[in-house]
Symmetry: C2
Subunit: 248 residues, 2 copies
């Protein structure tokens, strides 16, 4: 029994090691650049051994995505714990999103892979379940803030929308802008000079459109975002480095 557990522990340690080796390759050279042989060689194992841990390349990528989405969820969890109005807490989620995109670039890139048809289809149900679980957790945290807002009468949803559908809009605008920013090499060339600020303004404007109290001018919104950002960053950095350390 003890033996088995030790073995399992070793196995898990190596699984983690594979991910640690694979991640920078995936980041630097994309899905194509990531090769099982290369991971094996770098770890000084044979190819077959890697396949004892992951049935295929896609599964490695999704496993990395689970890690990255876990970090996002942790950031969200802490953002949602900010003390203040529901709107401030929602803004804190925005701060977490910005932090994730800007300071956890690797994780952001990995997270994107799960939207790739081919990768998703080739991977197992079980890892897909983990991903969906992370997604649901993130959604739950943010939708919780919406529900609190409604409960506290700071937000009245006139439309026939669920709390999750409200979040969906914010999710879409953030996610969409991140993809566009990362994949359009020259947004500036088509007149978009400061995409980050633009999205802040849009989020503020959208929440104002819903009359989420207190309605804010975008100047005040920006100041508050800055304040929240400074307040949250220490914790965010520590969460981030926690994950990086568990990589070692």
């Amino acid at each position: 029994m003890v033996e088995l557990t030790r073995k399992q522990r070793e196995m898990e340690r190596r699984t983690a090691e594979i991910l640690r080796v694979a991640r920078p390759i995936l980041i630097a050279e994309g899905f194509q650049g990531l090769s099982m042989h290369r991971v094996a060689a770098q770890m000084e194992y044979a190819t077959g051994t890697i396949y004892n841990h992951f049935p295929n390349k896609e599964e490695i990528v999704l496993a990395l995505a689970v890690e990255s989405m876990g970090l996002r969820r942790n950031l969200f969890e802490h953002a949602a714990m900010v003390t203040g109005s529901s709107r401030q807490r929602m803004m804190a989620i925005g701060v977490a999103c910005e932090f994730f995109t800007q300071h956890c670039t690797d994780d952001f890139l990995v997270e994107q892979c799960i939207r790739n048809q081919g990768i998703w289809e080739k991977s197992s149900e079980s890892i897909q379940g983990l991903i969906r679980q992370c997604e649901a957790q993130c959604m739950g945290i943010v939708a919780g803030i919406v529900r609190d807002a409604v409960a506290q009468r700071e937000l009245i949803i006139y439309e026939e929308l669920t709390a999750e559908e409200i979040v969906f809009g914010l999710w879409a605008i953030n996610y969409g802008s991140q993809i566009l920013t990362h994949s359009s090499p020259s947004l500036a060339a088509i007149g978009i000079n400061d995409p980050i600020n633009a999205i802040r303004v849009h989020c503020c404007t959208l929440l104002n459109g819903f009359a989420w109290q207190p309605v804010m001018m975008s100047k005040d919104y920006n100041d508050e975002m800055k304040r929240l950002s400074e307040a949250l960053q220490p914790k965010f950095w520590s969460l981030r480095s926690q994950r990086k350390q568990s990589d070692n």
Copy 2:
């Protein structure tokens, strides 16, 4: 001279033929599934011949994307020509987006490929230029509506945003929601029952947030969207089938 032109025409005809053959493969089996040999075999040519037309697989995909983005631009052009207030014209763009996503599914999927790091990097400057040109044209059409709105005092931009940055927000929310809808197999499982309606409401709310006149309740917005949709669909279908025919 005449000889040369005939040859060039033949060459171009075959280039188009390659794209015609490649498109359904790309749609059905993704980038991985698309194989040069397979395209060659299906056309009863040798592999090498395909490489006389396209230097690599990536370039074929981007060429397909140029076609698809051209269709989108055509839809936008016609949407922007709707008679009515600036806000109605902007809504018509929204209708075009919905039409594109729902009825030009193939094109939408192809368009997504250009956001893939690997594909973008491996392709030539010249085709990248074409893509960017399409992107800029789409942006130009929509930003033009924003500028008209400002000129007609139906919209006042208090924030320090360019017209393009206003469009960026709408682009992000639409693009983001489309990706999320297509790649999250079970949005319903996390509480998002009607993503299309949700995004409509968000767009309406966002425009209301900017106080883009006339401010609308989402009920009226939906009615107007339906009206515009019916008015535009015939033209949209004809634009769509035009592209499909040029495939033959």
